[in-house]
Amino acid sequence: MRYTLILGFILFMIGLWAMLTRKNLFKIVIGFSIIDTGVHLIIVTIGYLSGKTAPILDKLVTPANAVQKVVDPIPSALVLTAIVIGLAVTALMLSYVVRLYKRRKSLSIEDYRELKW
């Protein structure tokens, strides 16, 4: 599953590229989201064990053989939290962008740099 790992990092870099080069605030936020997604993908990959199934007991996965049959439940649990947190941050970022736009009617990050030095 190394491919998904690498894919995760590719997403990371794409997001970073967006954050660093796009001037539009929305696009920067989207870039951040992409990074987040990449990291989530990485987390899930870390928990994946090839050929195994979701850690939920059912007919196939019985209490007796569960340990051999399931993937690591921890990263799944973690990614759940991470996603929610990512969502929260994104929501706030977007709200900021909305407010900024309301105030100055500009979405370019270059227009918000009178604070410096």
Binding site: L20, T81, E110, R113, L115
Partner: protein, 1046 residues
Amino acid sequence: MVNPIMIFILFLGTAFLFALFDKIHRKFSFAILQLVLLINTFIAGQWLYKFVFTSQTPVMIFTAGFKPPFSINLRMGLEEAFILFAVNFVGLLSALYLSKSFKHSKVYPLVLYLMMIMGVNGIVMTRDLFNLFVFLEISSISTYALIALKENEQRLASGFKYMIASGLASVFFLLGTIFIYHITGTLNIDQIITHKSFVITSLGFLSVFTLMMSLIIELKPFPANGWALDVYQTTTSGVVSIIAVANSAGVFYAFYKLLPLIPHNQLLFIAGIGIVSFLFSNLIAIKQTDSRRLLGYSSIAQIGLLITVTALTRYLHVKSSTSLFIISSIFLSNFIAKAGLFWIAGIIKKTHIKEWAILRFKPGLLIIFGVFIFALVGIPPFPNFWAKWDLIRFLALSKLHIWIILILLGSLLEAFYLFRWFGSIVRSEQNEEQLLQPAYKTVPIIIFFLLLIIISIGIPIHIYQFDILPLLPIVGLLILSIFDFLPSKLKAIISMIIIAGYTLYIYPVLSGVSLVFAFIFLAGSFIQLIATMSRKGTDKGFFPLLVGMILSMGSLLVARSSLEFFFAWELMTITAYMLVLRGRKAEKPALLFILFSLAGAYLLLSGLSYAHVINFSLVGLGTIPISAHMLPITAFILIVVAFLIKVGAVGFHIWLPGSYAEAEDDTTSFMSSILSKTGIFGMLILLLFLLKMNMHHSALFTSMLGWIGIFTVFFGSLMAIFQEDVKYLLAYSSMGQLGYIVLCMAAMSHLGWVSGLYLAVNHLFFKAMILLAVAGVISRVGTRNMYEMGGLIKKMPYSFISVLIGIIALSGVPPLSGFGAKWLIYTALLEKGWYFRAGLSFFASAIAFLYLFRLIHTIFLGQPKPQHQNVKEASPFFLIPQFLFIFAIMAISMFPNLIIKPLSTFINPYFASTIQWQGNTLYSSLGYWNGNLVMYVTMGVFMLLLIWLIISIGRVQKVKQFNIVFAAERPFKPTTTHFAHNFYAHYKRALGTFVRPVTTGFWNGVGEWISSAAGSIRQIYSGNGQTYVLYILLYFIVLYFIMGGK
């Protein structure tokens, strides 16, 4: 004991229900909020109490009914309790501070506020890596949102920058966490730390590096911190104080918790990150004019220092209790002071630091402001001082020289801009403005102020086992502060009583040379205090500081350990600084004074740290067996330079003239005649050590010292003659006289020391006399320019007499005591074989005539000015001490053995005596002197001639001012007839090259260079959020390669 998990339950329970509470009434919900914070403060406080005062061991709290690593656990130990208490407490106070904002806002900010504090609580307690991430996010996200409180465009822009930077940091954290989990198979921090050997693999290192970098970026290291500065600059005060202290505290603790993951050999890099941040933030802050941004830089610098100290103490395996003390003291100073300063910023509501001048009209707030600044700089007794003391000692023991230099350099930069700010407020000329001080805003500030004071007094007593003796200066200062409402005369009397009492109290401890200095410091002060009675009104603040300063000097004498000595030294410095700052135009000079004094203090600190002796003091000297290598050469040089700065030796003298001249007139007299001797006292102790331990090359050092002394004499005297301002003249004169003392002490012989001490005492007499007389004159004529005076002998004859006696004593003309000094000096120098130094000092003492004549002539003789027609004699309060000193001078002139004999006995234990007495004649190996006989002969001849003259000429007519032989005309006006301005033009033509301001130029250059460096470095903060992100990445990359990522 309350289960710490209750903190979360309380926070969350109320937060979730907050919307409902709010529906009842805002007052109700706000009360709930405060109640929650109060209870949590109490819970944390209770634990803190247990940890500090009982032998409570840290406890682990498990959740979910499982043991870790299966469940998340929390820890409550001393560190946690300490930070939680601080954070919840500041949360409580800040909530109070924000009460008005909260009253008119939506309900959300209150909820966010609660959650932010809870987030920090969680960060501190949790022992699970991912849980740590969650709590970090909780506090960050609520911070993001709170920045928008009282929204404006700048807040929004800075908040957005903050979010993208901090968002990136949290992504790194996540990345690090998951890979650490992958490697170790656990998320429990304690388990991870026990498995930390995984760090050596490249994957392991990268994971830990990514994780730590995330935290470090959240700690806002230079230069990856532009976003944080914007937030500090814009966010509303109540919120920013929480961000700056509580949030940082949380993140810092997370860093502290995870630091064991860093391999030992990488710790220095981490320390390097901190020190870079500390140095550069302080450097750039110099250029800062926006008060909030300035505080932001200072916060970042302090966090940098904390990082450094934490990493270094871990690197050095410092005992945990000690390292904890150092870290928590630095932490606490910044915590309290920064919160307080940001709160004050919210009251001032001005951005530019100069506009803070309105504080001047709020003495209470100004004092608090000053105390906070002192706490940041590390002035005793505030916690930072103790931390610095211990820290530098450890670094010195471990020979981490470069770190000492960097830390002290950064501290000096910080002191520079903070004191510059303080000075500009105190001395600004801005008019009074309306300043609202609502109670809800002032109460938190006052509480923190009191807290700081309590802690500051608690530390020396509890941790360093100080008894009352070294703390007496503070006690004295406080007593006088209580009586500050009384009129000056009364306060002067109280001060005199206190000083007399103090002298009696310490008298049993004094012996030998310390008696001499006790006489100078305490008796000298006592007499000069009479002069302060001339102050009008209540003159608030003067007496507490003065008494503080005098008692600190006394403390120097009776200090038993290096720490006590240094404590008294710093206390003296800061009180003196405040006194100087009281002068009307003293802003710049006072800044120079404190800068050089602090630089000196830091040198002293590092010198004492390098010394392998813990009682560098006169009392301590006797209690320990002295061995060689006690004072390594480095220590010796550092300490001696520290004292040379205090004395104002050439090269370090540029602080001296300004601060002596611009201080209030009676203060100048204290400073010049008394305070400057503390440097001599210190040097004496140092030389005693040197003497006892037979240091290698010690002859070379003392010889160098001798040259420094004589050049100080020479340049001091030479510069004095070109001054138009009487106080500048006297300041340079002091510099010269102190140079003589240094020269004598450096001679390291019986006669040398006798003459040094003799001169020290004598200088007290004549310099105090002259300065008080001049103070009296200035108080009447209202100018310090000598050429604007003239002919005052007729108006102020008594002042004239004391100046006359003073200059005769100073110049060394027989028969007065000054000749004794000269005789002793030359004899000592010639005995020692320092011929060239003796020659130069002849020259210098001849030069002294020039300025002395100019002094007396241009003020008292020559043509009186019309505007001084109605000038009266100076106040008797000025005259009484002068005449007491005249009496003293006359006494020791008539009976030199009165003073030389005891001095000689005091020196006897250290050097074999080379002088003998025969009656009143003093014999040295080279010559002899009978002061008594000289006096009689001179007086006899003089009186005879005088009587003869009076008899022979009978009645003479006293003529008016212009009745002189002036080319048969009457001179036009006194201003043109009074030959005073540029009196020694010809001398300047001949020797002007020597007084070119080389030193001043040098120091100015240093200042200029630092300032422009700061100016160009801060250009990196372009204001563009994307650039800041780029910096973070670059920072990440560069550090990765520096730390040798594999």
